[in-house]
Each structure stands twice: as C-alpha cells, then as structure tokens.
C-alpha cells in the first residue's frame, strides 16, 4: 500500500529506516489483526523490529509450483514489501532473491551459521525420497539433505502448502519420486503444517509473526495445523451454506442453479470434510477469490485424505452436522398424560357438572316461583 500521500507520514515520528513509527505501527497492527493476534502484539512486534530483532527467515523450495510464494506476494495487509523489509528478515528465498548460484548458497550458509537456533525455516514443496532423492537437487545437494541440514538448526519449521505438509500433488498416485511432506521427513521434530494449494499467506504470517513476537507456537491439531486457521471446516463458515441448509444445490456447471450461486456440494464440493479458513480470510483480500466464491467446488486441498485422492467431482461425507438438534428424532415424541393432569381434568369436569346441576335446580325452582304468581293474578 502506498502511504506516501498520507498526512501522518509527515506528522509521524520518523525511525532511522525512513518509515514513520505511526505507519509502521499501522502495518504491524494490520498484520496482527489479519492473523488473529491481539492488538498488543502489534506493539511488541514494532518494538522487536525497532530493536533490530527481526526474525530471520530461510525459505526452501523443493518439488512445487511456487504457488504459495506467488500467493504470499499478493498480500497487501501487510504488503509483501513491508513484510520482507520491515517485519521479517528474509535471508534466503530462491524466487525473491536477486542473487543466484554460488553467491546465494554462501548467503544461506552464512545465515544458518549466524542465526543458528533462531531462524524460521519455511519449506515449500514436497521432498522426493526415491532413488536417494536425486529428483530434486539444489547446488548439488538433495532436498532431503538440505532440509535436514537447515531444519536441524532452525527455531521453527513451517511447512507451507499441501506439498510440504503431506506431499500434495507431487505425492499423488503413483508418486513416481516417492515424494513426502516435511513432517514425514523430520520425524519427531515439531513442524507447523500450513496445507493449502496454495496456502493462505495469512496463515503463514500469523504463525511467523506469533513466533517472532511472542516466541510461542500457535495451538495445532493432530496434523500439525494451527487451530486458529484449521479448526473449522469450510462448510461451517461457507458463504453458500444457506443454500445447503435449504436444499438448493447446483445441479450442473453452467446451469441456472449455478448462476444463482447455489451450494456446490452436489457437483463435488469437499467443504464439509475440509478444514481451512478460506471462506473467512480471502486470498489477496479480494472477496470471493477462493474456489467456492468463484463457483467451483472446494477440492479439499488441505486434507491429505481428500486432496489429489478423492475424485474432484465426487461427494464426501459431512463431518459435522450442524445443528443436530434441528433434525426430527427417529421416534417422534408423543404427548404424555400424567396422573396429575387426569386428576385436575377430573376435578374441573366434576366441578362443571356439579355447577350445572345446581344451576339447573335453581332455575327450575325460580321458574316455578314465577309461574305461581301468574296463576294467582287472573
């Protein structure tokens, strides 16, 4: 984002880098807010950065399409420039680095040596293991070697994207290169997995910034995915959910129901079995810029058991019925008549009958009294 024309850039307190403190705090707050950290985290983040303790990041690329990086480049709150230049210190990234060859290899080794135990190792792409991993080599070293070397001295290992998280498309049958995800290679070492094809960059920012700021890791589920992003299914927060609840489904791509934006379950949406926050945090801050928003069923890219395994247009089971209380029970509840109710009803009926009888008697007596004077008068 271009802050140059903002008046507070002139008013704000300048820091040595030439960015106003106010603007910088805004960036930090936006980043914290975007990834669900408390507002106080923005302050801490700014302090850390101001004191020159930007978290060093080493980004490794293996068997992948660079889609996750491309996705990261399109974030704007904070923008990639702010991220790379202000919030983190990107030490090594094959796509973003101007340098190449020997120069960049040296930079990598230097960074590992200098920041041992502190840096964040982000892995993008699957790691081939077949035939000693010869299918992916950088600078003469195999992916397995590089990963084990870099990860061994890292403070935090993040697997970004489905490939790094569980093999992804590279590990799809028949998996010719024996591709595996980072958690399968680094057995025993905590790895934060951020599956997605591509992964939502905000999930990476959230994890990295929380580690950099608070020194803690986000709570993760049994597959190592941060719960702040992967605890709920797409289906639970889907913008098309009302159509599902009303039984309105897209019958065919391109038909009227598709144009009307009905639920995509019938044409193969994996949303009910897929844990991710795609429907809540749009990619690149553009609303609807995710498969379901664009009219394509979710393919379940964050789920190892779904993505690249279950055919794209076949349906899946709904993991969580919500809310189960609205369904009819198997045996519909019948009204029960308690003895108390019977007693009360008996008393009421008895009372009414008694009152009726008394009233009848009184009326007839009165009628008789009225009749007699009439007889006497003439």
């Amino acid at each position: 984002m271009d802050y140059t024309h903002w008046p507070d850039r002139l008013l704000g307190e300048k820091d040595p880098s030439g960015v106003s403190r106010r603007v910088f705090l805004k960036v930090c707050t936006a980043a914290a807010a975007a990834v669900g950290l408390p507002a106080s985290a923005a302050e801490k983040m700014a302090e850390k950065v101001a004191s020159g303790k930007k978290p060093p990041v080493i980004w490794l690329h293996f068997q992948e399409c660079t889609g996750c990086t491309e996705s990261l480049l399109r974030t704007s709150h904070p923008g990639v420039a702010e991220l790379i230049l202000d919030l983190v210190s990107l030490e090594y990234h094959e796509t973003l680095f101007a340098a190449a060859g020997k120069q960049i290899e040296e930079a990598l080794h230097e960074s590992i040596r200098d920041n041992a135990g502190k840096y964040i190792c982000v892995v993008e792409g699957a790691i081939p293991t077949k035939d000693d991993g010869v299918f992916c080599q950088v600078g003469g070293r195999t992916a397995v070697d590089i990963l084990e070397d870099v990860a061994s001295k890292a403070g935090l290992v993040v697997a970004i994207g489905s490939c790094a998280s569980f093999g992804g498309v590279a590990a799809a049958e028949p998996n010719p290169t024996g591709a595996k995800g980072v958690p399968q290679i680094l057995v025993g070492k905590p790895v934060v997995a951020l599956p997605g094809c591509p992964a939502n960059p905000y999930n990476l920012l959230g994890t990295v910034l929380q580690y950099a700021t608070l020194g803690t890791l986000p709570a993760v589920d049994d597959k190592g995915r941060p719960r702040f992003a992967y605890a709920r299914t797409i289906h639970e927060d889907c913008e098309r959910r009302p159509h599902f609840d009303a039984g309105r489904f897209v019958q065919k791509f391109g038909d009227e129901s598709h144009r009307l934006g009905y639920c995509l379950y019938k044409v193969g949406c994996k949303g009910p079995a897929t844990h991710a926050n795609c429907s809540l945090v749009p990619f690149g801050e553009v609303g609807d810029s995710w498969p379901v928003g664009l009219g394509h069923p979710c393919i379940g890219c964050t789920e190892q058991k779904v993505a690249f395994r279950v055919p794209m247009f076949s349906t899946v089971d709904v993991e969580r019925l919500t809310p189960p209380g609205t369904y009819a029970p198997i045996f519909a509840e019948q009204g029960k008549i308690t003895p108390l109710a019977t007693g009360v009803a008996g008393l009421v009926v008895g009372g009414l009958v008694g009152a009726g009888l008394t009233l009848g008697k009184k009326l007839s007596a009165e009628a008789k009294r009225e009749e007699h004077p009439e007889e006497k008068q003439p």
Binding site: D245, G247, T315, A328, P329, I330
Partner: protein, 308 residues
C-alpha cells in the same frame, strides 16, 4: 326331547363352521406369495450416504403441492416437520446413539403385499402400475383402517381438513408420464435416495454391501421384510434403531386375508351355514305350529270343563 334335537342341530352347525375354519387354515399355508410386477420400480435409500440436507423434503413438498407443516398465527410458514403428517410425505430423521449418527428417510415403503391395500374396504388404496401403492380420494370414506394396518405407520390423515384425505408417498407417480421419477431422488445431491427398477436396485444394494462390508449392516431392509418392499434401506446401524420395526418376512395381510377370503371362498361356507340355519328355523316354525294346533284342539275341552 325338544332340547336334544335343538342341541343336535346346533352341534351340526358348529361342526360345519369348524370344518370351514379348518379349510381356511389349510389354505392359509397355501396362499401364494405375492410377487412384485415384472416392471416394478423401487427406491433405494442408503443411510450412509445421506448428509441430512433435507433437499428431498423440500422438493417433495414442491412436487406434491403440499402446504408447510405449520403456519404461525401471523401467517408465517414454519416448515420443520418432525414426523410424517397430513402435510408431509417424507421426513429426514436423525438417529443419535453412542457416538454414531445415522439419517433415516421416513416414507411409504410401497410393500409388494401392502397391508393398507388389504385393509381398505373400498379400494381407495391400490397397488397400481409399476407396483406403486396409490391413493384415490374419491373412493376413500376416511375410516383410517389403512393407518392401523400399516406396519410402518405411514398413511397419515388430514386432521385439519374439513374434507380430509389420506396422505402418503405415492412415488410421485403423477410425474411418470413426464418421464420423471420421484422428486426426492432427483434432487438428492449424493444419490442417497435412488430411483430405478426393483431388480436393479436390489442387486445394487447387495453389491454395495459386498464391496464395503465395513460400511454397512449386512442386511438390506425390504428384500424380504413383510414379503418385500419396493423401497429398500441400507444402513450402518440396525434398522430398528432407524424406526423400521422387526416385522418378519410374513406379509401383514397374509393371515387376515386368508381367513377372510377362505371363509367366503366360492361362498360355500356362508351358504352351508345359511342352509343349516334355515333348516332349523323351518323345523322350529313347523313344530311350533303343530303344537299350537294341538293346544287349540285341547283348549275348548278345558274351557267347557271350567264353565259349570
């Protein structure tokens, strides 16, 4: 003397009735099992596939022009039926037990040998083309015997209507001429309810169990139950948990119809009983007349004796 003869005749009548009943019983065993028509259609509900979206319920109302379940006093419709009713021909129900959930689609099972058809005294309910059990309102007198007869508690009565009818799933047979099957099967996003030929769906059900034995209860409900139904159920949980009672394989009308039809077979038993009764009456009348005449003959003598 009189009493003995009377009791003798009674005994004869009783023996005749017992003989007829015996014949009925023998015929009960011989009653041919009804078979579905060769072109029978069917529906297959796979509980393990159902996701509870209730699109079928929605579409059923639309296709059958049914009103909402309830309308609030201010006129706002509230359509959340909890059971079949005069306004609801199918309901998705949820079984929840010991961590397991399963969906159930309640609707008419279109029995091969339906109890409602047997119980209906005016033939308002009929097994019609393709084996669909249909209802004709013009023949119905509203006795609701069909409700009592049905083993699955399916036919419902329009209690709120001044001219009530019986409401039950008729497999959308009014859509057949348009070349369409049941609306629920058409909209189901997961083919949890499928429409097709009975033979094919029976085979399909068996195939699914064989292919995924871990996924299914080993039986198909409706293959043999009450003599077979044209709506088949597959499930992961026992069927009685889904509200499908353990009904046995004997068709509900088997015993009742055999006795009824046996008694009236060729009208022999009623005529025999009538003949015996008529004989007794005639004999009694004749004897009575004879006694009267005897008394009349005696009376004048008696009167004369008393006079003086």
């Amino acid at each position: 003397m009189k009493l003995t003869r009377r009791s003798l005749l009674k005994g004869v009548a009783a023996a005749g009735a017992a003989g007829a009943a015996g014949a009925v019983y023998r015929r009960a065993e011989a009653r041919a099992k009804k078979q579905p028509p060769p072109d029978a259609v069917a529906m297959l509900f796979d509980s393990t596939r159902c996701i509870g979206c209730r699109a079928c319920m929605e579409k059923c109302k639309e296709a059958n022009d049914l009103p909402p379940d309830r309308v609030r006093l201010d006129g706002v419709p509230y359509d959340a039926p909890i059971d079949l009713s005069g306004t609801t021909k199918t309901v998705i129900k949820l079984y929840q037990g010991s961590g397991k959930t399963a969906f159930m689609k309640a609707q008419c099972l279109h029995c091969v040998d339906p109890a409602c058809v047997s119980a209906c005294m005016l033939g308002a309910l009929n097994k019609r083309e393709y084996g669909v059990v249909t209802y004709q309102k013009n023949k119905c007198v509203g006795c609701r015997y069909c409700q009592i007869a049905c083993a699955f508690n399916v036919p419902r009565f329009e209690w709120n209507s001044p001219a009530p009818q019986i409401v039950k799933c008729e497999m959308c047979h009014h859509r057949f001429p348009e070349g369409k099957g049941p609306a629920c099967a058409e909209v189901c996003p997961r083919e949890a309810i499928q429409f097709g030929k009975l033979k094919e769906l029976r085979a399909e059900a068996q195939k699914r169990i064989q292919d995924n034995p871990w996924r299914y209860h080993p039986d198909v409900f409706g293959d043999t139950e009450v003599g077979g139904t044209q709506v088949l159920y597959l499930s992961a949980v026992p069927f009685d948990k889904l509200g499908l009672p353990k009904v046995g394989d004997e068709p509900v009308p088997a015993m009742g119809e055999t006795i009824q039809h046996g008694i009236y077979k060729g009208f022999i038993a009623p005529i025999a009983l009538y003949a015996v009764t008529a004989y007794v009456v005639v004999r009694n009348v004749r004897r009575g007349e004879a006694e009267e005449q005897e008394e009349a003959a005696r009376k004048p003598g008696e009167g004369e004796e008393r006079k003086p």
